[in-house]
């Protein structure tokens, strides 16, 4: 019945333009190819929406944005770190500590702090406990390199960091949607995406992202009522972000080092004051 139906050029053009031609098998094929989605909820919607929510609401020049986001995030974190150092949690995060204490002119020397315990408590991903302990010794050298960058960038504390929160939401949503895939395989492809490069580098590597995001997205009871839009108020992300900034590539990630979570909550006040004007 339907044989040898090679549509004419005109017919093909109509088919390509979306028309349907009665009795053509090719038309049926294209109709099947363009039938609207069956699922009421496309699987990727959640992560796309998360990214959408985190995107700036005003028109911004896309090419110039990536670096400033990271940079201003880091600057906010460094500022946070300085205050944290003053507050007595001086040993938080090796190089970062070195930076802040150095920046404070040695006054915040951390000899009194039970450094590693607190530091470890502050970073759920714990990508850096090794470099932390070692770098607290050579704080002077680290401070010299770090303090310059921190002082230069600390002036701009209006960080549009919601993008990191959005990326974390997207990451987690993707992870959930990938339950049938091997998580690691999914992640490795996922992590190479340019869209995630900021997140991955901020978290100190692909392996650190889960921990980083878990910390970032944990609701902070005292600091903020809108955690999704004001991420810098969370206590956990200074440590790792600054670690990344210092460019310690932690090759081995001791994910077992999550001791003493009791300290995680003592900082939001200092943090909130450090990033007082995050959104414009």
């Amino acid at each position: 019945m339907r044989r040898n139906q090679i549509p004419s050029a005109a017919e093909r053009e109509r088919l390509l333009a979306g028309e349907r031609l009665e009795g053509q098998r090719l038309s049926e094929l294209l109709a099947a190819a363009t039938v609207s989605a069956h699922s009421a909820e496309p699987p990727g919607l959640e992560s796309a929406l998360a990214a959408f929510r985190s995107a700036p609401a005003v028109v911004a020049a896309p090419p110039a944005r990536r670096t400033p986001v990271l940079k201003s995030l880091l600057s906010g974190l460094v500022a946070t770190k300085v205050i944290a150092g003053v507050a007595g949690a001086a040993a938080v995060g090796g190089v970062a500590l070195a930076a802040s204490t150095g920046h404070l002119g040695d006054g915040g020397h951390s000899a009194d702090a039970p450094g590693q315990a607190i530091a470890a408590a502050h970073q759920p991903g714990a990508t850096d406990s090794v470099s932390m302990s070692s770098s607290s010794d050579d704080s002077s050298s680290a401070a010299s390199s770090e303090s310059s960058s921190s002082s230069s960038s600390a002036s701009s504390t209006h960080a549009p960091t919601p993008s990191l929160v959005g990326l974390c939401h997207a990451w987690q949503a993707h992870e959930q949607s990938q339950s049938d895939h091997s998580a690691s395989a999914a992640h490795s492809a996922w992590a190479k995406s340019p869209a995630f490069s900021v997140l991955v580098s901020t978290a100190g590597g692909t392996d650190g992202v889960d921990g980083y995001c878990a910390a970032l997205l944990t609701p902070s009871t005292s600091a903020s009522t809108t955690p999704t839009s004001v991420p810098p108020t969370h206590p956990a992300h200074p440590t790792q972000a600054v670690t990344t900034h210092a460019n310690h590539k932690p090759s081995a990630v001791p994910s077992h080092s999550h001791p003493a979570p009791s300290h995680t909550n003592h900082k939001p006040t200092a943090t909130a004051s450090a990033s007082a004007t995050p959104s414009a």
């Binding site: 044989r3 390509l16 098998r25 919607l45 990214a51 005003v58 028109v59 911004a60 990326l167």
Partner: protein, 201 residues
């Protein structure tokens, strides 16, 4: 929300979608969701021709991160938006190809690297009721330039010029590829109707 009611319908031609696009650019979330629901199925199908169904979700999900991030700076109508998003999907697919390549410095063609969808059961169709997956798989059996041209035009909904931009080709080349693809599909479908297919390798 409205998706449920249009299960048997076709992807929309874009009416109303330009308004949606404008609202989404201003930050309207529900507009973004509508936009997503309009465009994502197209992109997903295009991606599955490029990288196979397994990776199409990843590729499009990554693409959407970029789309959402850069949407506010986008200017153009829904046609241009579809073309832009298709290009992003294509680039992500190429990224995936490169990440799987052992020779990252060598110039890579998608044909060399990407898994193509399985072919055999795609042809084993009663043809009266063909699923979307089967239809896409069938189109994916075409040479890649033809498959892409057909997908971009008939499924993503681009005109030859926009499709050409996505592919980095002249509109005429897209046109030729799309027509060749359709002719080839038509031939195979009619041959299919004459003789029952027994999964020839």
């Amino acid at each position: 929300m409205t998706d449920r009611t249009v299960v048997a319908g076709q992807l929309s031609s874009g009416t109303g979608m330009s308004e949606c696009l404008a609202a989404a650019r201003e930050g309207d979330e529900s507009a973004f969701v509508r936009l997503y629901r309009d465009v994502q199925p197209r992109l997903r199908r295009y991606a599955s021709v490029l990288v196979g169904g397994q990776d199409a979700d990843d590729v499009t999900a990554e693409a959407w991160l970029q789309i959402a991030r850069d949407l506010h700076g986008f200017s153009g109508d829904i046609q241009a938006f579809r073309a832009w998003t298709a290009r992003i999907v294509r680039n992500r697919a190429l990224d995936l190809a490169r990440s799987r390549s052992r020779r990252p410095s060598v110039s890579i063609g998608l044909d060399d690297l990407l898994d193509r969808p399985e072919q055999h059961d795609a042809w084993d169709l009663a043809a009266e009721r063909m699923s979307t997956e089967q239809a896409i798989a069938l189109i994916a059996t075409l040479p890649r330039d033809q498959a892409e041209a057909v997908l971009l035009r008939a499924v993503v909904g681009l005109d030859p010029a926009a499709a050409g931009e996505v592919l980095g080709k002249r509109p005429g080349a897209v046109r030729v590829a799309a027509h060749r693809g359709l002719k080839s599909l038509a031939r195979r479908l009619s041959a299919d109707a004459d003789t029952p297919i027994s999964d020839a390798e």
